[in-house]
Symmetry: D2
Subunit: 151 residues, 4 copies
């Protein structure tokens, strides 16, 4: 358990705003020597993996299906779980903390499961699909890292 | 698929208010010939199973653990999944609709997963841990049944 | 936990021999007041549910998918898990003992998981896909019941 | 999906014979530029991760529990699934092929699930807990690699 692991969750739809935020987040997390765990598919998941790759870091994509082929091109290591949406539990359990960028019901389930497990949750960029005790808000990537890493 | 199945989710803590609501809900669902699916543990889960049993109906408790022994005494049939909190997905997927009574982060994850799967969600009694499109509010048990059964 | 629950696993292909055996098994289990748990799909799973239904008993089909619609017509209660082949764990964990009729790699995984959990396993009809300590052989339905119920 | 991923499964008990085999296997897989996926716990899982680490490679440990802390010391990246023995599915689904070293019922379930998914399975060292079509035998680490990588 030498390296810190941070889970990044968020919308699977691509938008210029959330993609840019997720890419900058992935870059910064890799720079901070964190392994980035995500759901391995599109939108925020692709963008964060691209940011990690740009910084020469390591990302892990935890897929719902049984085949590695669904993973986005930028993922480093692929875990094919075969358990569908239940893989959301594995994504957040694998992070020391969870950072959310945008998101829908799937992201909301990840935030809820993360909090159920006692993981710190940081919402970056203001559009949290779910709020409550232990869900922190960050405006900038730097702030998100500080809150997630507890520094 | 002759019989309708309704998932009931909610707080695992016992309170006189949510217990009474859940018991009345279980009774009414059984009277309406619905099988009641729940998480099989305490609080709302026990109360709804008691209501179902009083009406001579059938309840199914879907447990996180590998042993049937954790189930509450009132459950009819026990499914031991062995998959921990990922069983929340099985609970809501097994209902044609989902009714929530109170609840915490676990319940919030169930509401989110239910909506992700396109299930109708009804919050009974006003204390929804999560809100959004397709999450309906009911004040009375009768209203919750109407909304859940789409009548 | 008033009623005993027995998991029945086996081939998803239909054959006159295994279907007849599974149907007789389902009938006998229901007569012995056992709830029958199975994977809810075709072949042995359909036949055992038909036997249960003929005897007026209760069967539970635990499906891999997120929708109840994949269940065979004879299932009593349907649990849609959404976790794919990982539902094999839930099938065997939900039985006090497991009886196998024919089967392939899926059935072999169920036998292995059942033994991992310490469940007694009975192979009925001689074609076990997997053998080892705690895997018992039965020639007749009566013998399978005796071994499974520990009487 | 640039890098090949090989799943290594086997006994969680430590023995000088299986440990040595697993360590040599991990070393050879890392040398062949494969990411090694395993269950992240003891016995063969620890030994294979140690071999990977010695060669400067990358291993992924997919744990049954919700916490990263159960992982062995040699694991590179940890995935905490929270789904118990159902994580066996994720282990084998994440490998392009599966190599087994020794093993018990858990390993047998992994071989069965791997074959269910169509993954090639290689048993290294002669003590397969489960046999059948598509399960290949290897005596040496070199032979196991050849069979697993299809070269």
């Amino acid at each position: 358990m030498a390296r810190r692991q941070i889970a990044v969750v968020g919308t699977s739809s691509s938008s210029s705003e959330t993609d840019a935020l997720a890419r900058a987040l992935g870059y910064a997390l890799a720079q901070a020597d964190c392994v980035v765990v995500c759901g391995g598919l599109g939108g925020v998941m692709t963008a964060v993996c691209e940011g990690v790759a740009e910084a020469g870091g390591l990302s892990v994509g935890i897929l719902p299906g049984e085949s590695r082929e669904a993973a986005n091109e930028a993922v480093g290591v692929v875990v094919a779980t075969g358990i569908g949406h239940a893989r959301n539990l594995a994504v957040v359990a694998s992070g020391d903390a969870v950072i959310a960028v945008g998101g829908d019901w799937g992201t909301a389930s990840e935030i809820a499961l993360a909090r159920k497990l006692g993981r710190r949750v940081v919402v970056l960029g203001g559009s949290a699909p779910l709020d409550g005790p232990g869900v922190l808000a960050a405006v900038t990537v730097e702030e998100a890292l500080e809150l997630a890493l507890g520094e």
